[in-house]
């Protein structure tokens, strides 16, 4: 009975007795969720337009952040470095399209998936050669990102909102909004959505497939820069950061591989879900459950909706 109490009653008692902690957990979950969603968004963009399950999204985050900080270290002013980083991501997108996607056009999705592994290896090696393996400190203040925290007293304690987290939520929301507008309202965006349905349709809009690939990879690169800056500011910029990208996978399948709203909602569910789970139930199992909890949540949803929450229903035609 004790164990049942601990599972089913105690956590909720805790929530009631220490609402500040609940609010804090939810907030932290929200922030994590938004950042997961941001990485997942990079995946979705590419998957939707080119059918590539881009495993390299994680290393792109690291690569973007490293480029930014590395340039700054060489004396390039912060915002110039940011601009140059955007340029580097554009070059990367073009390179990926030319050297990786073109030779692999029409291959099965698992092959493309594997190719992005090759890209990951390449970027890990190249990144280390260029920038070295040492961790770097994100130039948050040079980019006018706030530091410090806002604390609210009350609720039986206090709730502390890191300014960088607030900034992260705002920036992520803005990016998601911009991307949504871009894909819903612009010609290129419509073409991109058309690509998801049929490549012929895209051609009729007057944009070549190659261009679209470059655009989505570039967009994913920009998303990677944002993720890199925000996540780097939360800890440090190092190659270990790519592990974070694995977190985007459950988010992705939970939301549905092709859905932008799915990525956002999935990110929030996973972010908040895992933080709540770890915080209230994790100690029962000795902690550290966060790592698989996200996947189990995703798995649970998938069993009932195999295509994810927002994925297109898989209709089996015969």
């Amino acid at each position: 009975m004790d164990i049942l109490y601990k599972i089913f009653i105690d956590p909720f008692v805790q929530m009631g007795t220490a609402p500040d902690l609940l609010v804090q957990t939810l907030w932290d979950g929200l922030v994590a969720g938004v950042l997961y969603a941001l990485i997942a968004l990079g995946f979705v963009l590419i998957f939707k337009a080119s059918g590539v399950f881009n495993f390299a999204q994680g290393i792109m985050v690291v690569f973007a952040a490293l480029t930014l900080v590395g340039l700054h270290e060489h004396g390039v002013p912060a915002f110039v470095a940011l601009g140059l980083t955007v340029l580097v991501m554009l070059v990367l997108a073009v390179g990926v399209e030319r050297l990786m996607l073109r030779p692999l056009v029409n291959q099965s999705s698992i092959i493309l998936f594997m190719a992005t592994f090759g890209l990951t290896y390449f970027l890990i090696g190249a990144g280390q050669i260029v920038f070295g393996g040492s961790p770097k400190v994100m130039i948050a203040s040079d980019l006018f990102l706030p530091s410090g925290a806002i604390e609210f007293k009350g609720l039986g304690g206090f709730v502390s909102l890191q300014k960088i987290d607030i900034a992260a939520v705002i920036i992520a929301s803005v990016m998601v909004g911009v991307l949504a507008v871009f894909f819903q309202r612009t010609r290129i965006g419509r073409a991109l959505r058309a690509v998801a349905d049929s490549h012929q349709a895209a051609l009729s809009v007057g944009i070549s497939l190659e261009q679209i690939w470059v655009i989505v990879w570039f967009a994913a690169g920009v998303v990677a820069i944002a993720t890199g800056i925000l996540w780097g500011a939360r800890s440090e910029v190092s190659f270990a950061l790519q592990i974070i990208a694995l977190k985007a996978l459950p988010v992705l399948v939970l939301g549905g591989l092709t859905s932008i709203p799915g990525a956002i909602v999935g990110g929030l569910i996973i972010g908040i879900g895992e933080k709540l789970g770890e915080f209230y139930w994790g100690p029962l199992l000795g902690g550290g459950i966060e790592n698989w909890l996200a996947y189990v949540i995703a798995l649970g949803v998938l069993v009932f909706r195999p295509q994810g929450l927002f994925g297109e229903k898989i209709i089996e035609r015969i």
Partner: protein, 442 residues
Amino acid sequence: MRLKHLALGLAVVTAAPAAAATAQAADGLYVPLFTYRTGPYAGSGIPVSNGLADYLNMLNARDGGIGGVPIIVDECETGYDTKKGVECYDSVKGKNPVIINPFSTGITLQLIPKAAVDKVPILSMAYGLSASADGNLFPWIFNPPDTYWDGAAAFIRHAADVEGGFDKLKGKTIGLVHLDAPYGREPIPLLQALAKDYGFTLKLYPVPGAQMQNQTALWLDVRRDRPDWIYLQGWGAMNPTAIKEAAKIGFPMNRLVGVWWSGSDDDARPAGAAAKGYSSLDINAVGSNFPAIQDIIKYVVDKGKSQVASKDKVGENFYDRGVMMAVLSAEAIRTAQKLTGKKQVTGEDVRRGLESLNITAAGWKALGLEGFAGPIHLSCADHNGHDAVALVQWDGTKWEKQPGMIEPIKDKVLPLIQSAAEDYVKANAGWPKRTEACDKSS
């Protein structure tokens, strides 16, 4: 066709180590260094690897090696990956290494059983298996100057000192934030024993490898539990994240103490001023203000023979840690030369040298490293020393050594080591009995 490819591959694989082996058949002390400058833990690995290699290279450049015999420094990149570490071991073991620095607890664990068979002494300085401090059962493994248990015990002593005595610990809550891997869990048994003895509550906060940079929920737990002290046994990117998160929840920084592997400059730097007051145990001094380190700069760094990114990285805490590893290796070899009277010593000789290793304060001074570390004295039975450790504190930009040294609680640690070593041997049926003779000097 397939055969042809296979043969070609085999040729390269078989020929490569052989070629290298012949290259160093000439006189020289073969010292392979398992270092890593790549992978997720590169942040911690780079400075240590640099210090380690640079000191030995300095000896070659300045003294022509040790006792006139050049040191053949052979770095093998492990990427902190056990698999590659074992690969490194296999590739060097045919070349008669005199001492091996695995520089990874995981790799050390793999090598412990092999060392006795291959007759290679393993120096796992302040890492590896705590139980291997027992020289009777682990004649080939050396982990001076302290085990993780000494570290944890020293931390408890420090906490007790601050609180005003061991009796003040009663009723306190002490947290252990650790990497959820063998390395991170190492102090748990000792802390549990001490918790029982001193009456404090131990809370464990494991950080899975994949969550290193995503510790928010864990620190919320900390905030809920409100521990009085936190001992941090982290590695790589886990450390800066933990320190930042600690600052975020407003945990008092002077109550956060890291093990010596959580004391890299790169660990504290990202948090910057917020980390002010964070302290870390240390086993070596910080800074480049030592003649030997100046020699490194002169003979190695300035000559462009070092891998350091810039000169100011020389003298960082972890760089000096690497230097200390190198000093212990070099001095073990020197001792072996003295013991045997041979210049070209073997692994077996160096094992004896390690057991007779004795670096006094004067000895450190003679090495041009006065006050660099406490005296190191090993024996056949004690491969560790369980020496007093220093404490350094982050002042917002760099580490400041705190006055005094902290003695580990030896009477608690030693019996635990004894029983752990016996457990290890019991679990590994057929563990060889020590047959190696003990030198008189030790």
